[in-house]
């Protein structure tokens, strides 16, 4: 209950602003069309027209809601027009990519905090790797992987992993270095091995950083998957939905897919948040 009221309030405010935005942004088309037909527009005509255009600049909330309802509940979930179907395809690649990316990020971060050689040589190139515009090389990656016989989920997951490993890497490097010198000194007096220091000190104290990173990483992974769905033939998944909606100017379809994707991201981030709360609570830190 404590959660619901604020969310509803903010939501209501957003919907109101959104309606206002729809009217403002879509008005131009209404006026243009009227001018072409040589007619005048009354306020009520303006309101009703801007909220029901076929190709609105900004679809009205109820139009998107309708599109979402159609896509989520109006179809068998195995149908190609079902957002559940496309969402699942995207989600599965996202999760695989997130797992791969998180794993890689953590492994690299551990390496970097333990080996100066890795710190000095890997970090700059990890940074450089992220500045390569993925959408530009994704098609080549897909082509190369396809010629190696790697198709299906994996190429998409790899691109998702590529985008999600970096936030995890940056956060974990910081987190693994967060213990203060007294905490480290204690383990030194026990002559704890690097592995033990990692398990007993560095990992626990990096948790707040890790979870902040995981939230960013899981969102990045979803974006990666969607980006990868374009050159993968743009046939299935929310990315394909977005794109094909965009070819045919089906604004409502774009927004429905967009919302599904965002909802997916929000749910994933929310799940990470719940795990965070449970973990930190058990660690006595929350």
């Amino acid at each position: 209950m404590k959660m619901i009221a604020p969310i509803l309030t903010v939501l209501a405010a957003i919907v109101l602003l959104w309606y206002a935005g729809s009217v403002a942004l879509n008005a131009k088309w209404t006026y243009d069309q009227a001018a072409r037909a040589g007619e005048d527009v009354t306020i009520s005509q303006l309101l009703s027209d801007t909220m029901s255009q076929k190709r609105p600049v900004l679809p009205a909330p109820h139009q998107v809601a309708q599109g979402l309802w159609q896509g989520l509940a109006g179809q068998a979930i195995t149908s190609k027009r079902s957002l559940v179907y496309h969402g699942w395809i995207t989600l599965s690649a996202t999760l695989l990519g997130f797992a791969l990316g998180t794993g890689l990020g953590i492994v690299l971060a551990v390496g970097i905090t333990h080996s100066r050689a890795m710190d000095l040589s890997v970090m700059p190139w990890a940074i450089a790797s992220q500045t390569v515009p993925i959408l530009a090389i994704a098609p080549m990656v897909i082509v190369v992987l396809a010629s190696l016989g790697v198709t299906g989920l994996l190429p998409k997951a790899l691109i998702a992993a590529y985008l999600s490993f970096f936030p995890v890497l940056v956060g974990m490097v910081k987190g693994l270095r967060a213990p203060d010198s007294m905490q480290l000194d204690l383990l030194k007096t026990y002559n704890a091995s690097q592995g033990e220091t990692l398990a007993k000190l560095r990992m626990p104290s990096s948790m707040p950083y890790l979870f902040a990173s995981l939230k960013v990483g899981v969102a990045a992974s979803l974006v990666g998957t969607i980006v990868a769905e374009l050159p993968a033939g743009a046939t299935r998944g929310l990315g394909a939905r977005l794109l094909s909606g965009s070819y045919y100017g089906q604004t409502v379809q774009i927004w429905s897919a967009l919302f599904t994707a965002a909802a997916l991201a929000a749910i994933l981030v929310g799940i990470v948040g719940v795990i965070e709360r449970i973990t930190l609570k058990r660690m006595g830190m929350a």
Binding site: M3, P6, I7, T9, V10, L11, I14, V57, L58, R116, A117, D119, L120, S121, M123, P124, W125, A128, Q130, T131, V132, P133, I134, L135, A136, I137, P139, V143, V144, F166, P167, V170, G171, V173, K174, R177, A178, S181, P208, Y209, A212, K215, V216, A219, L222, I226, V227, L238, G239, L242, S246, I254, A257, L258, A262, A263, A265, A266, V269, G270
Partner: protein, 282 residues
């Protein structure tokens, strides 16, 4: 084949040299440049060797030497694109996006009401995938750099927000109690305690955002642009199979991105010198 073998042998040697250098001279300034440089040279050599050794078609992956040639010849184009995409699109979007995220994080932190109401919805809005957002923003903000900046704003917002919110919560009991005994106002507590304490987290977000800003600005140009800009050039050149130009642009992006990241990391070092993660290596 010979090329490929040479490249791999060189790689192994360089790896060994690097490990040795890091162990012996890791704390010296020159080594901190030499090691990543050697690593980079190794990667490039490996790449050149594999491309030549396996006769990979240049329309799939051009050799670094070829890229370097094109890079040297395309100075004016690269500069024009750099200004359009990085200086106008990425940088302005970065500043606005990070600024907005910081402000919103503070607002969220200030009001439990907003925290409960805005954070979930903020997560939602900010996690909108770029490929869906870009066409819409191009439609709203036009073809020029403004729409690219808008995409960057959307992209960098979330990482900075999440980190900043985590950072603002990263003070310990004692530190907060001290402020309470001074009956510090909210703003005083924010400025004197919570903002400084949040800096290590904030910089995490800012660092991640540097690379995201570049990706955002470049990718947004795929969805409509004037006839300049790195994303425009990349997609056009891919269509023309001019891959050396594509990789030249990518090189510019990588250099600019590393520079950008480096600048933020340097700032971080100056601002959060007191954090154990910085002190340990001082």
């Amino acid at each position: 084949m010979g090329w490929a073998i040479f490249a791999i042998v060189f790689w192994l040697c360089a790896w060994g040299a690097n490990a040795w250098m890091a162990r012996r001279y890791g704390h010296q300034r020159w080594a901190q440049f030499a090691i990543p440089a050697l690593f980079g040279i190794t990667v490039l050599l490996l790449w050149e060797g594999l491309v030549l050794g396996f006769g990979i078609s240049p329309v799939i992956l051009p050799a670094p030497s070829q890229i370097a040639q094109t890079f040297a010849q395309s100075g004016p184009i690269l500069r024009e694109d750099f200004v359009q995409t990085i200086l106008k699109g990425a940088l302005s979007g970065y500043v606005i996006g990070c600024g907005a995220a910081i402000v919103v994080a503070v607002l969220i932190d200030r009001s439990p009401f907003l925290q409960r109401g805005l954070l979930p919805i903020g997560n939602f809005v900010a996690a909108l995938p770029i490929v869906g957002v870009a066409p819409i923003l191009v439609m709203w903000f036009g073809f020029d750099w403004q729409s690219k900046a808008a995409v960057v704003v959307v992209m960098v917002f979330f990482p900075v927000l999440v980190n900043m919110v985590a950072g603002l919560a990263a003070t310990d009991h004692l530190q907060r109690d001290l402020m309470a005994t001074y009956s510090a106002s909210y703003w005083q507590g924010l400025i004197k305690l919570r903002l400084p304490a949040a800096m290590p987290f904030l910089f995490n977000g800012l660092k991640i955002a540097t690379t995201l800003a570049l990706i955002g600005a470049i990718v947004a140009e795929f969805f409509g642009s004037p006839t300049r800009g790195m994303g425009f050039r990349i997609s056009t050149a891919v269509g023309q199979l001019d891959l050396p130009l594509v990789w030249s642009e990518i090189t510019v992006a990588a250099l600019a991105g590393s520079g950008f990241y480096g600048a933020v990391a340097l700032l971080e070092k100056l601002v959060t010198f007191w954090h154990p993660s910085q002190r340990a290596r001082a």
